[in-house]
Amino acid sequence: MKWNCYDLFDHYNTEKNGVPALKEQPIRTDAVLERVQAQTAAHSQPHKRSRIRMPALTAPTRTYSLPCWECTATTARRC
């Protein structure tokens, strides 16, 4: 069986054995940065809260049906 040396080097441990310094080729760093920032912004954006529309809270306009302290009739108004 013939084995591909490129595949053999898949098992090369860079952290233990190190990597050579390469003659670096130029790259558009700003384009890379832009892509990364777009992705990290998308990841770190907080989830939008689902806004539940609540009816406005206003002072209750209830009429209390309390017994009249004079005639004991259950009415809101004084007899």
Binding site: W3, F9, N13, V19, V36
Partner: protein
Amino acid sequence: MQERILIRRLKQHQPQALEELIETYSPYVGTIVRNIIGKYLSESDVEELTADVFLAVWEHTDQLKAGKLTAYLAAIARNRAKNRIRGYHETVNLEDMIEIGSGEDLEDAIDRKILGELLRDVLDTLTAKDREILVRYYYCYETVWQIAETLCLSESAVKMRMSRARKRLQQELIARGYAYKESPAVQQIRFAAIGKGAVS
């Protein structure tokens, strides 16, 4: 020292540290990515993959170690780029193959960890220059021409050293029991059960 501080800031998830990391290391990462996918894909793909490498680092800052940052970036860049071109048909030159066993897939037979250790041991038996040439060629995907220029050698000298190193690799694999021995009596391929982790 600078790297240590940068890593500490990255672990604190400081966006400014990520920017610095990209500005400093994107040419290195981009070079590895371009060496691997450059002939198949566009420059925009190179940038995209390079950005992916930094995103992976950003998401796994806990794995960063001082003094190992370049090695870590190189490993991610190579893996990502190789995964990307997996769909493309890659023809491998016969010279880049070494004869090591029967029809069985060696990777299935040997544990990945053992294979990593084995490769390290085998590489240790080579001279520093030969080892560097192999790593540059097979790990960083540099061309013979690039290696020759960097190491101030002629292209034929690089090729000769590579051929010698490949032969050495093969010999070491055989010596450690990872390759077959042909028995003339039965004309059958047999694994030589020598050394650790030998397959039978």
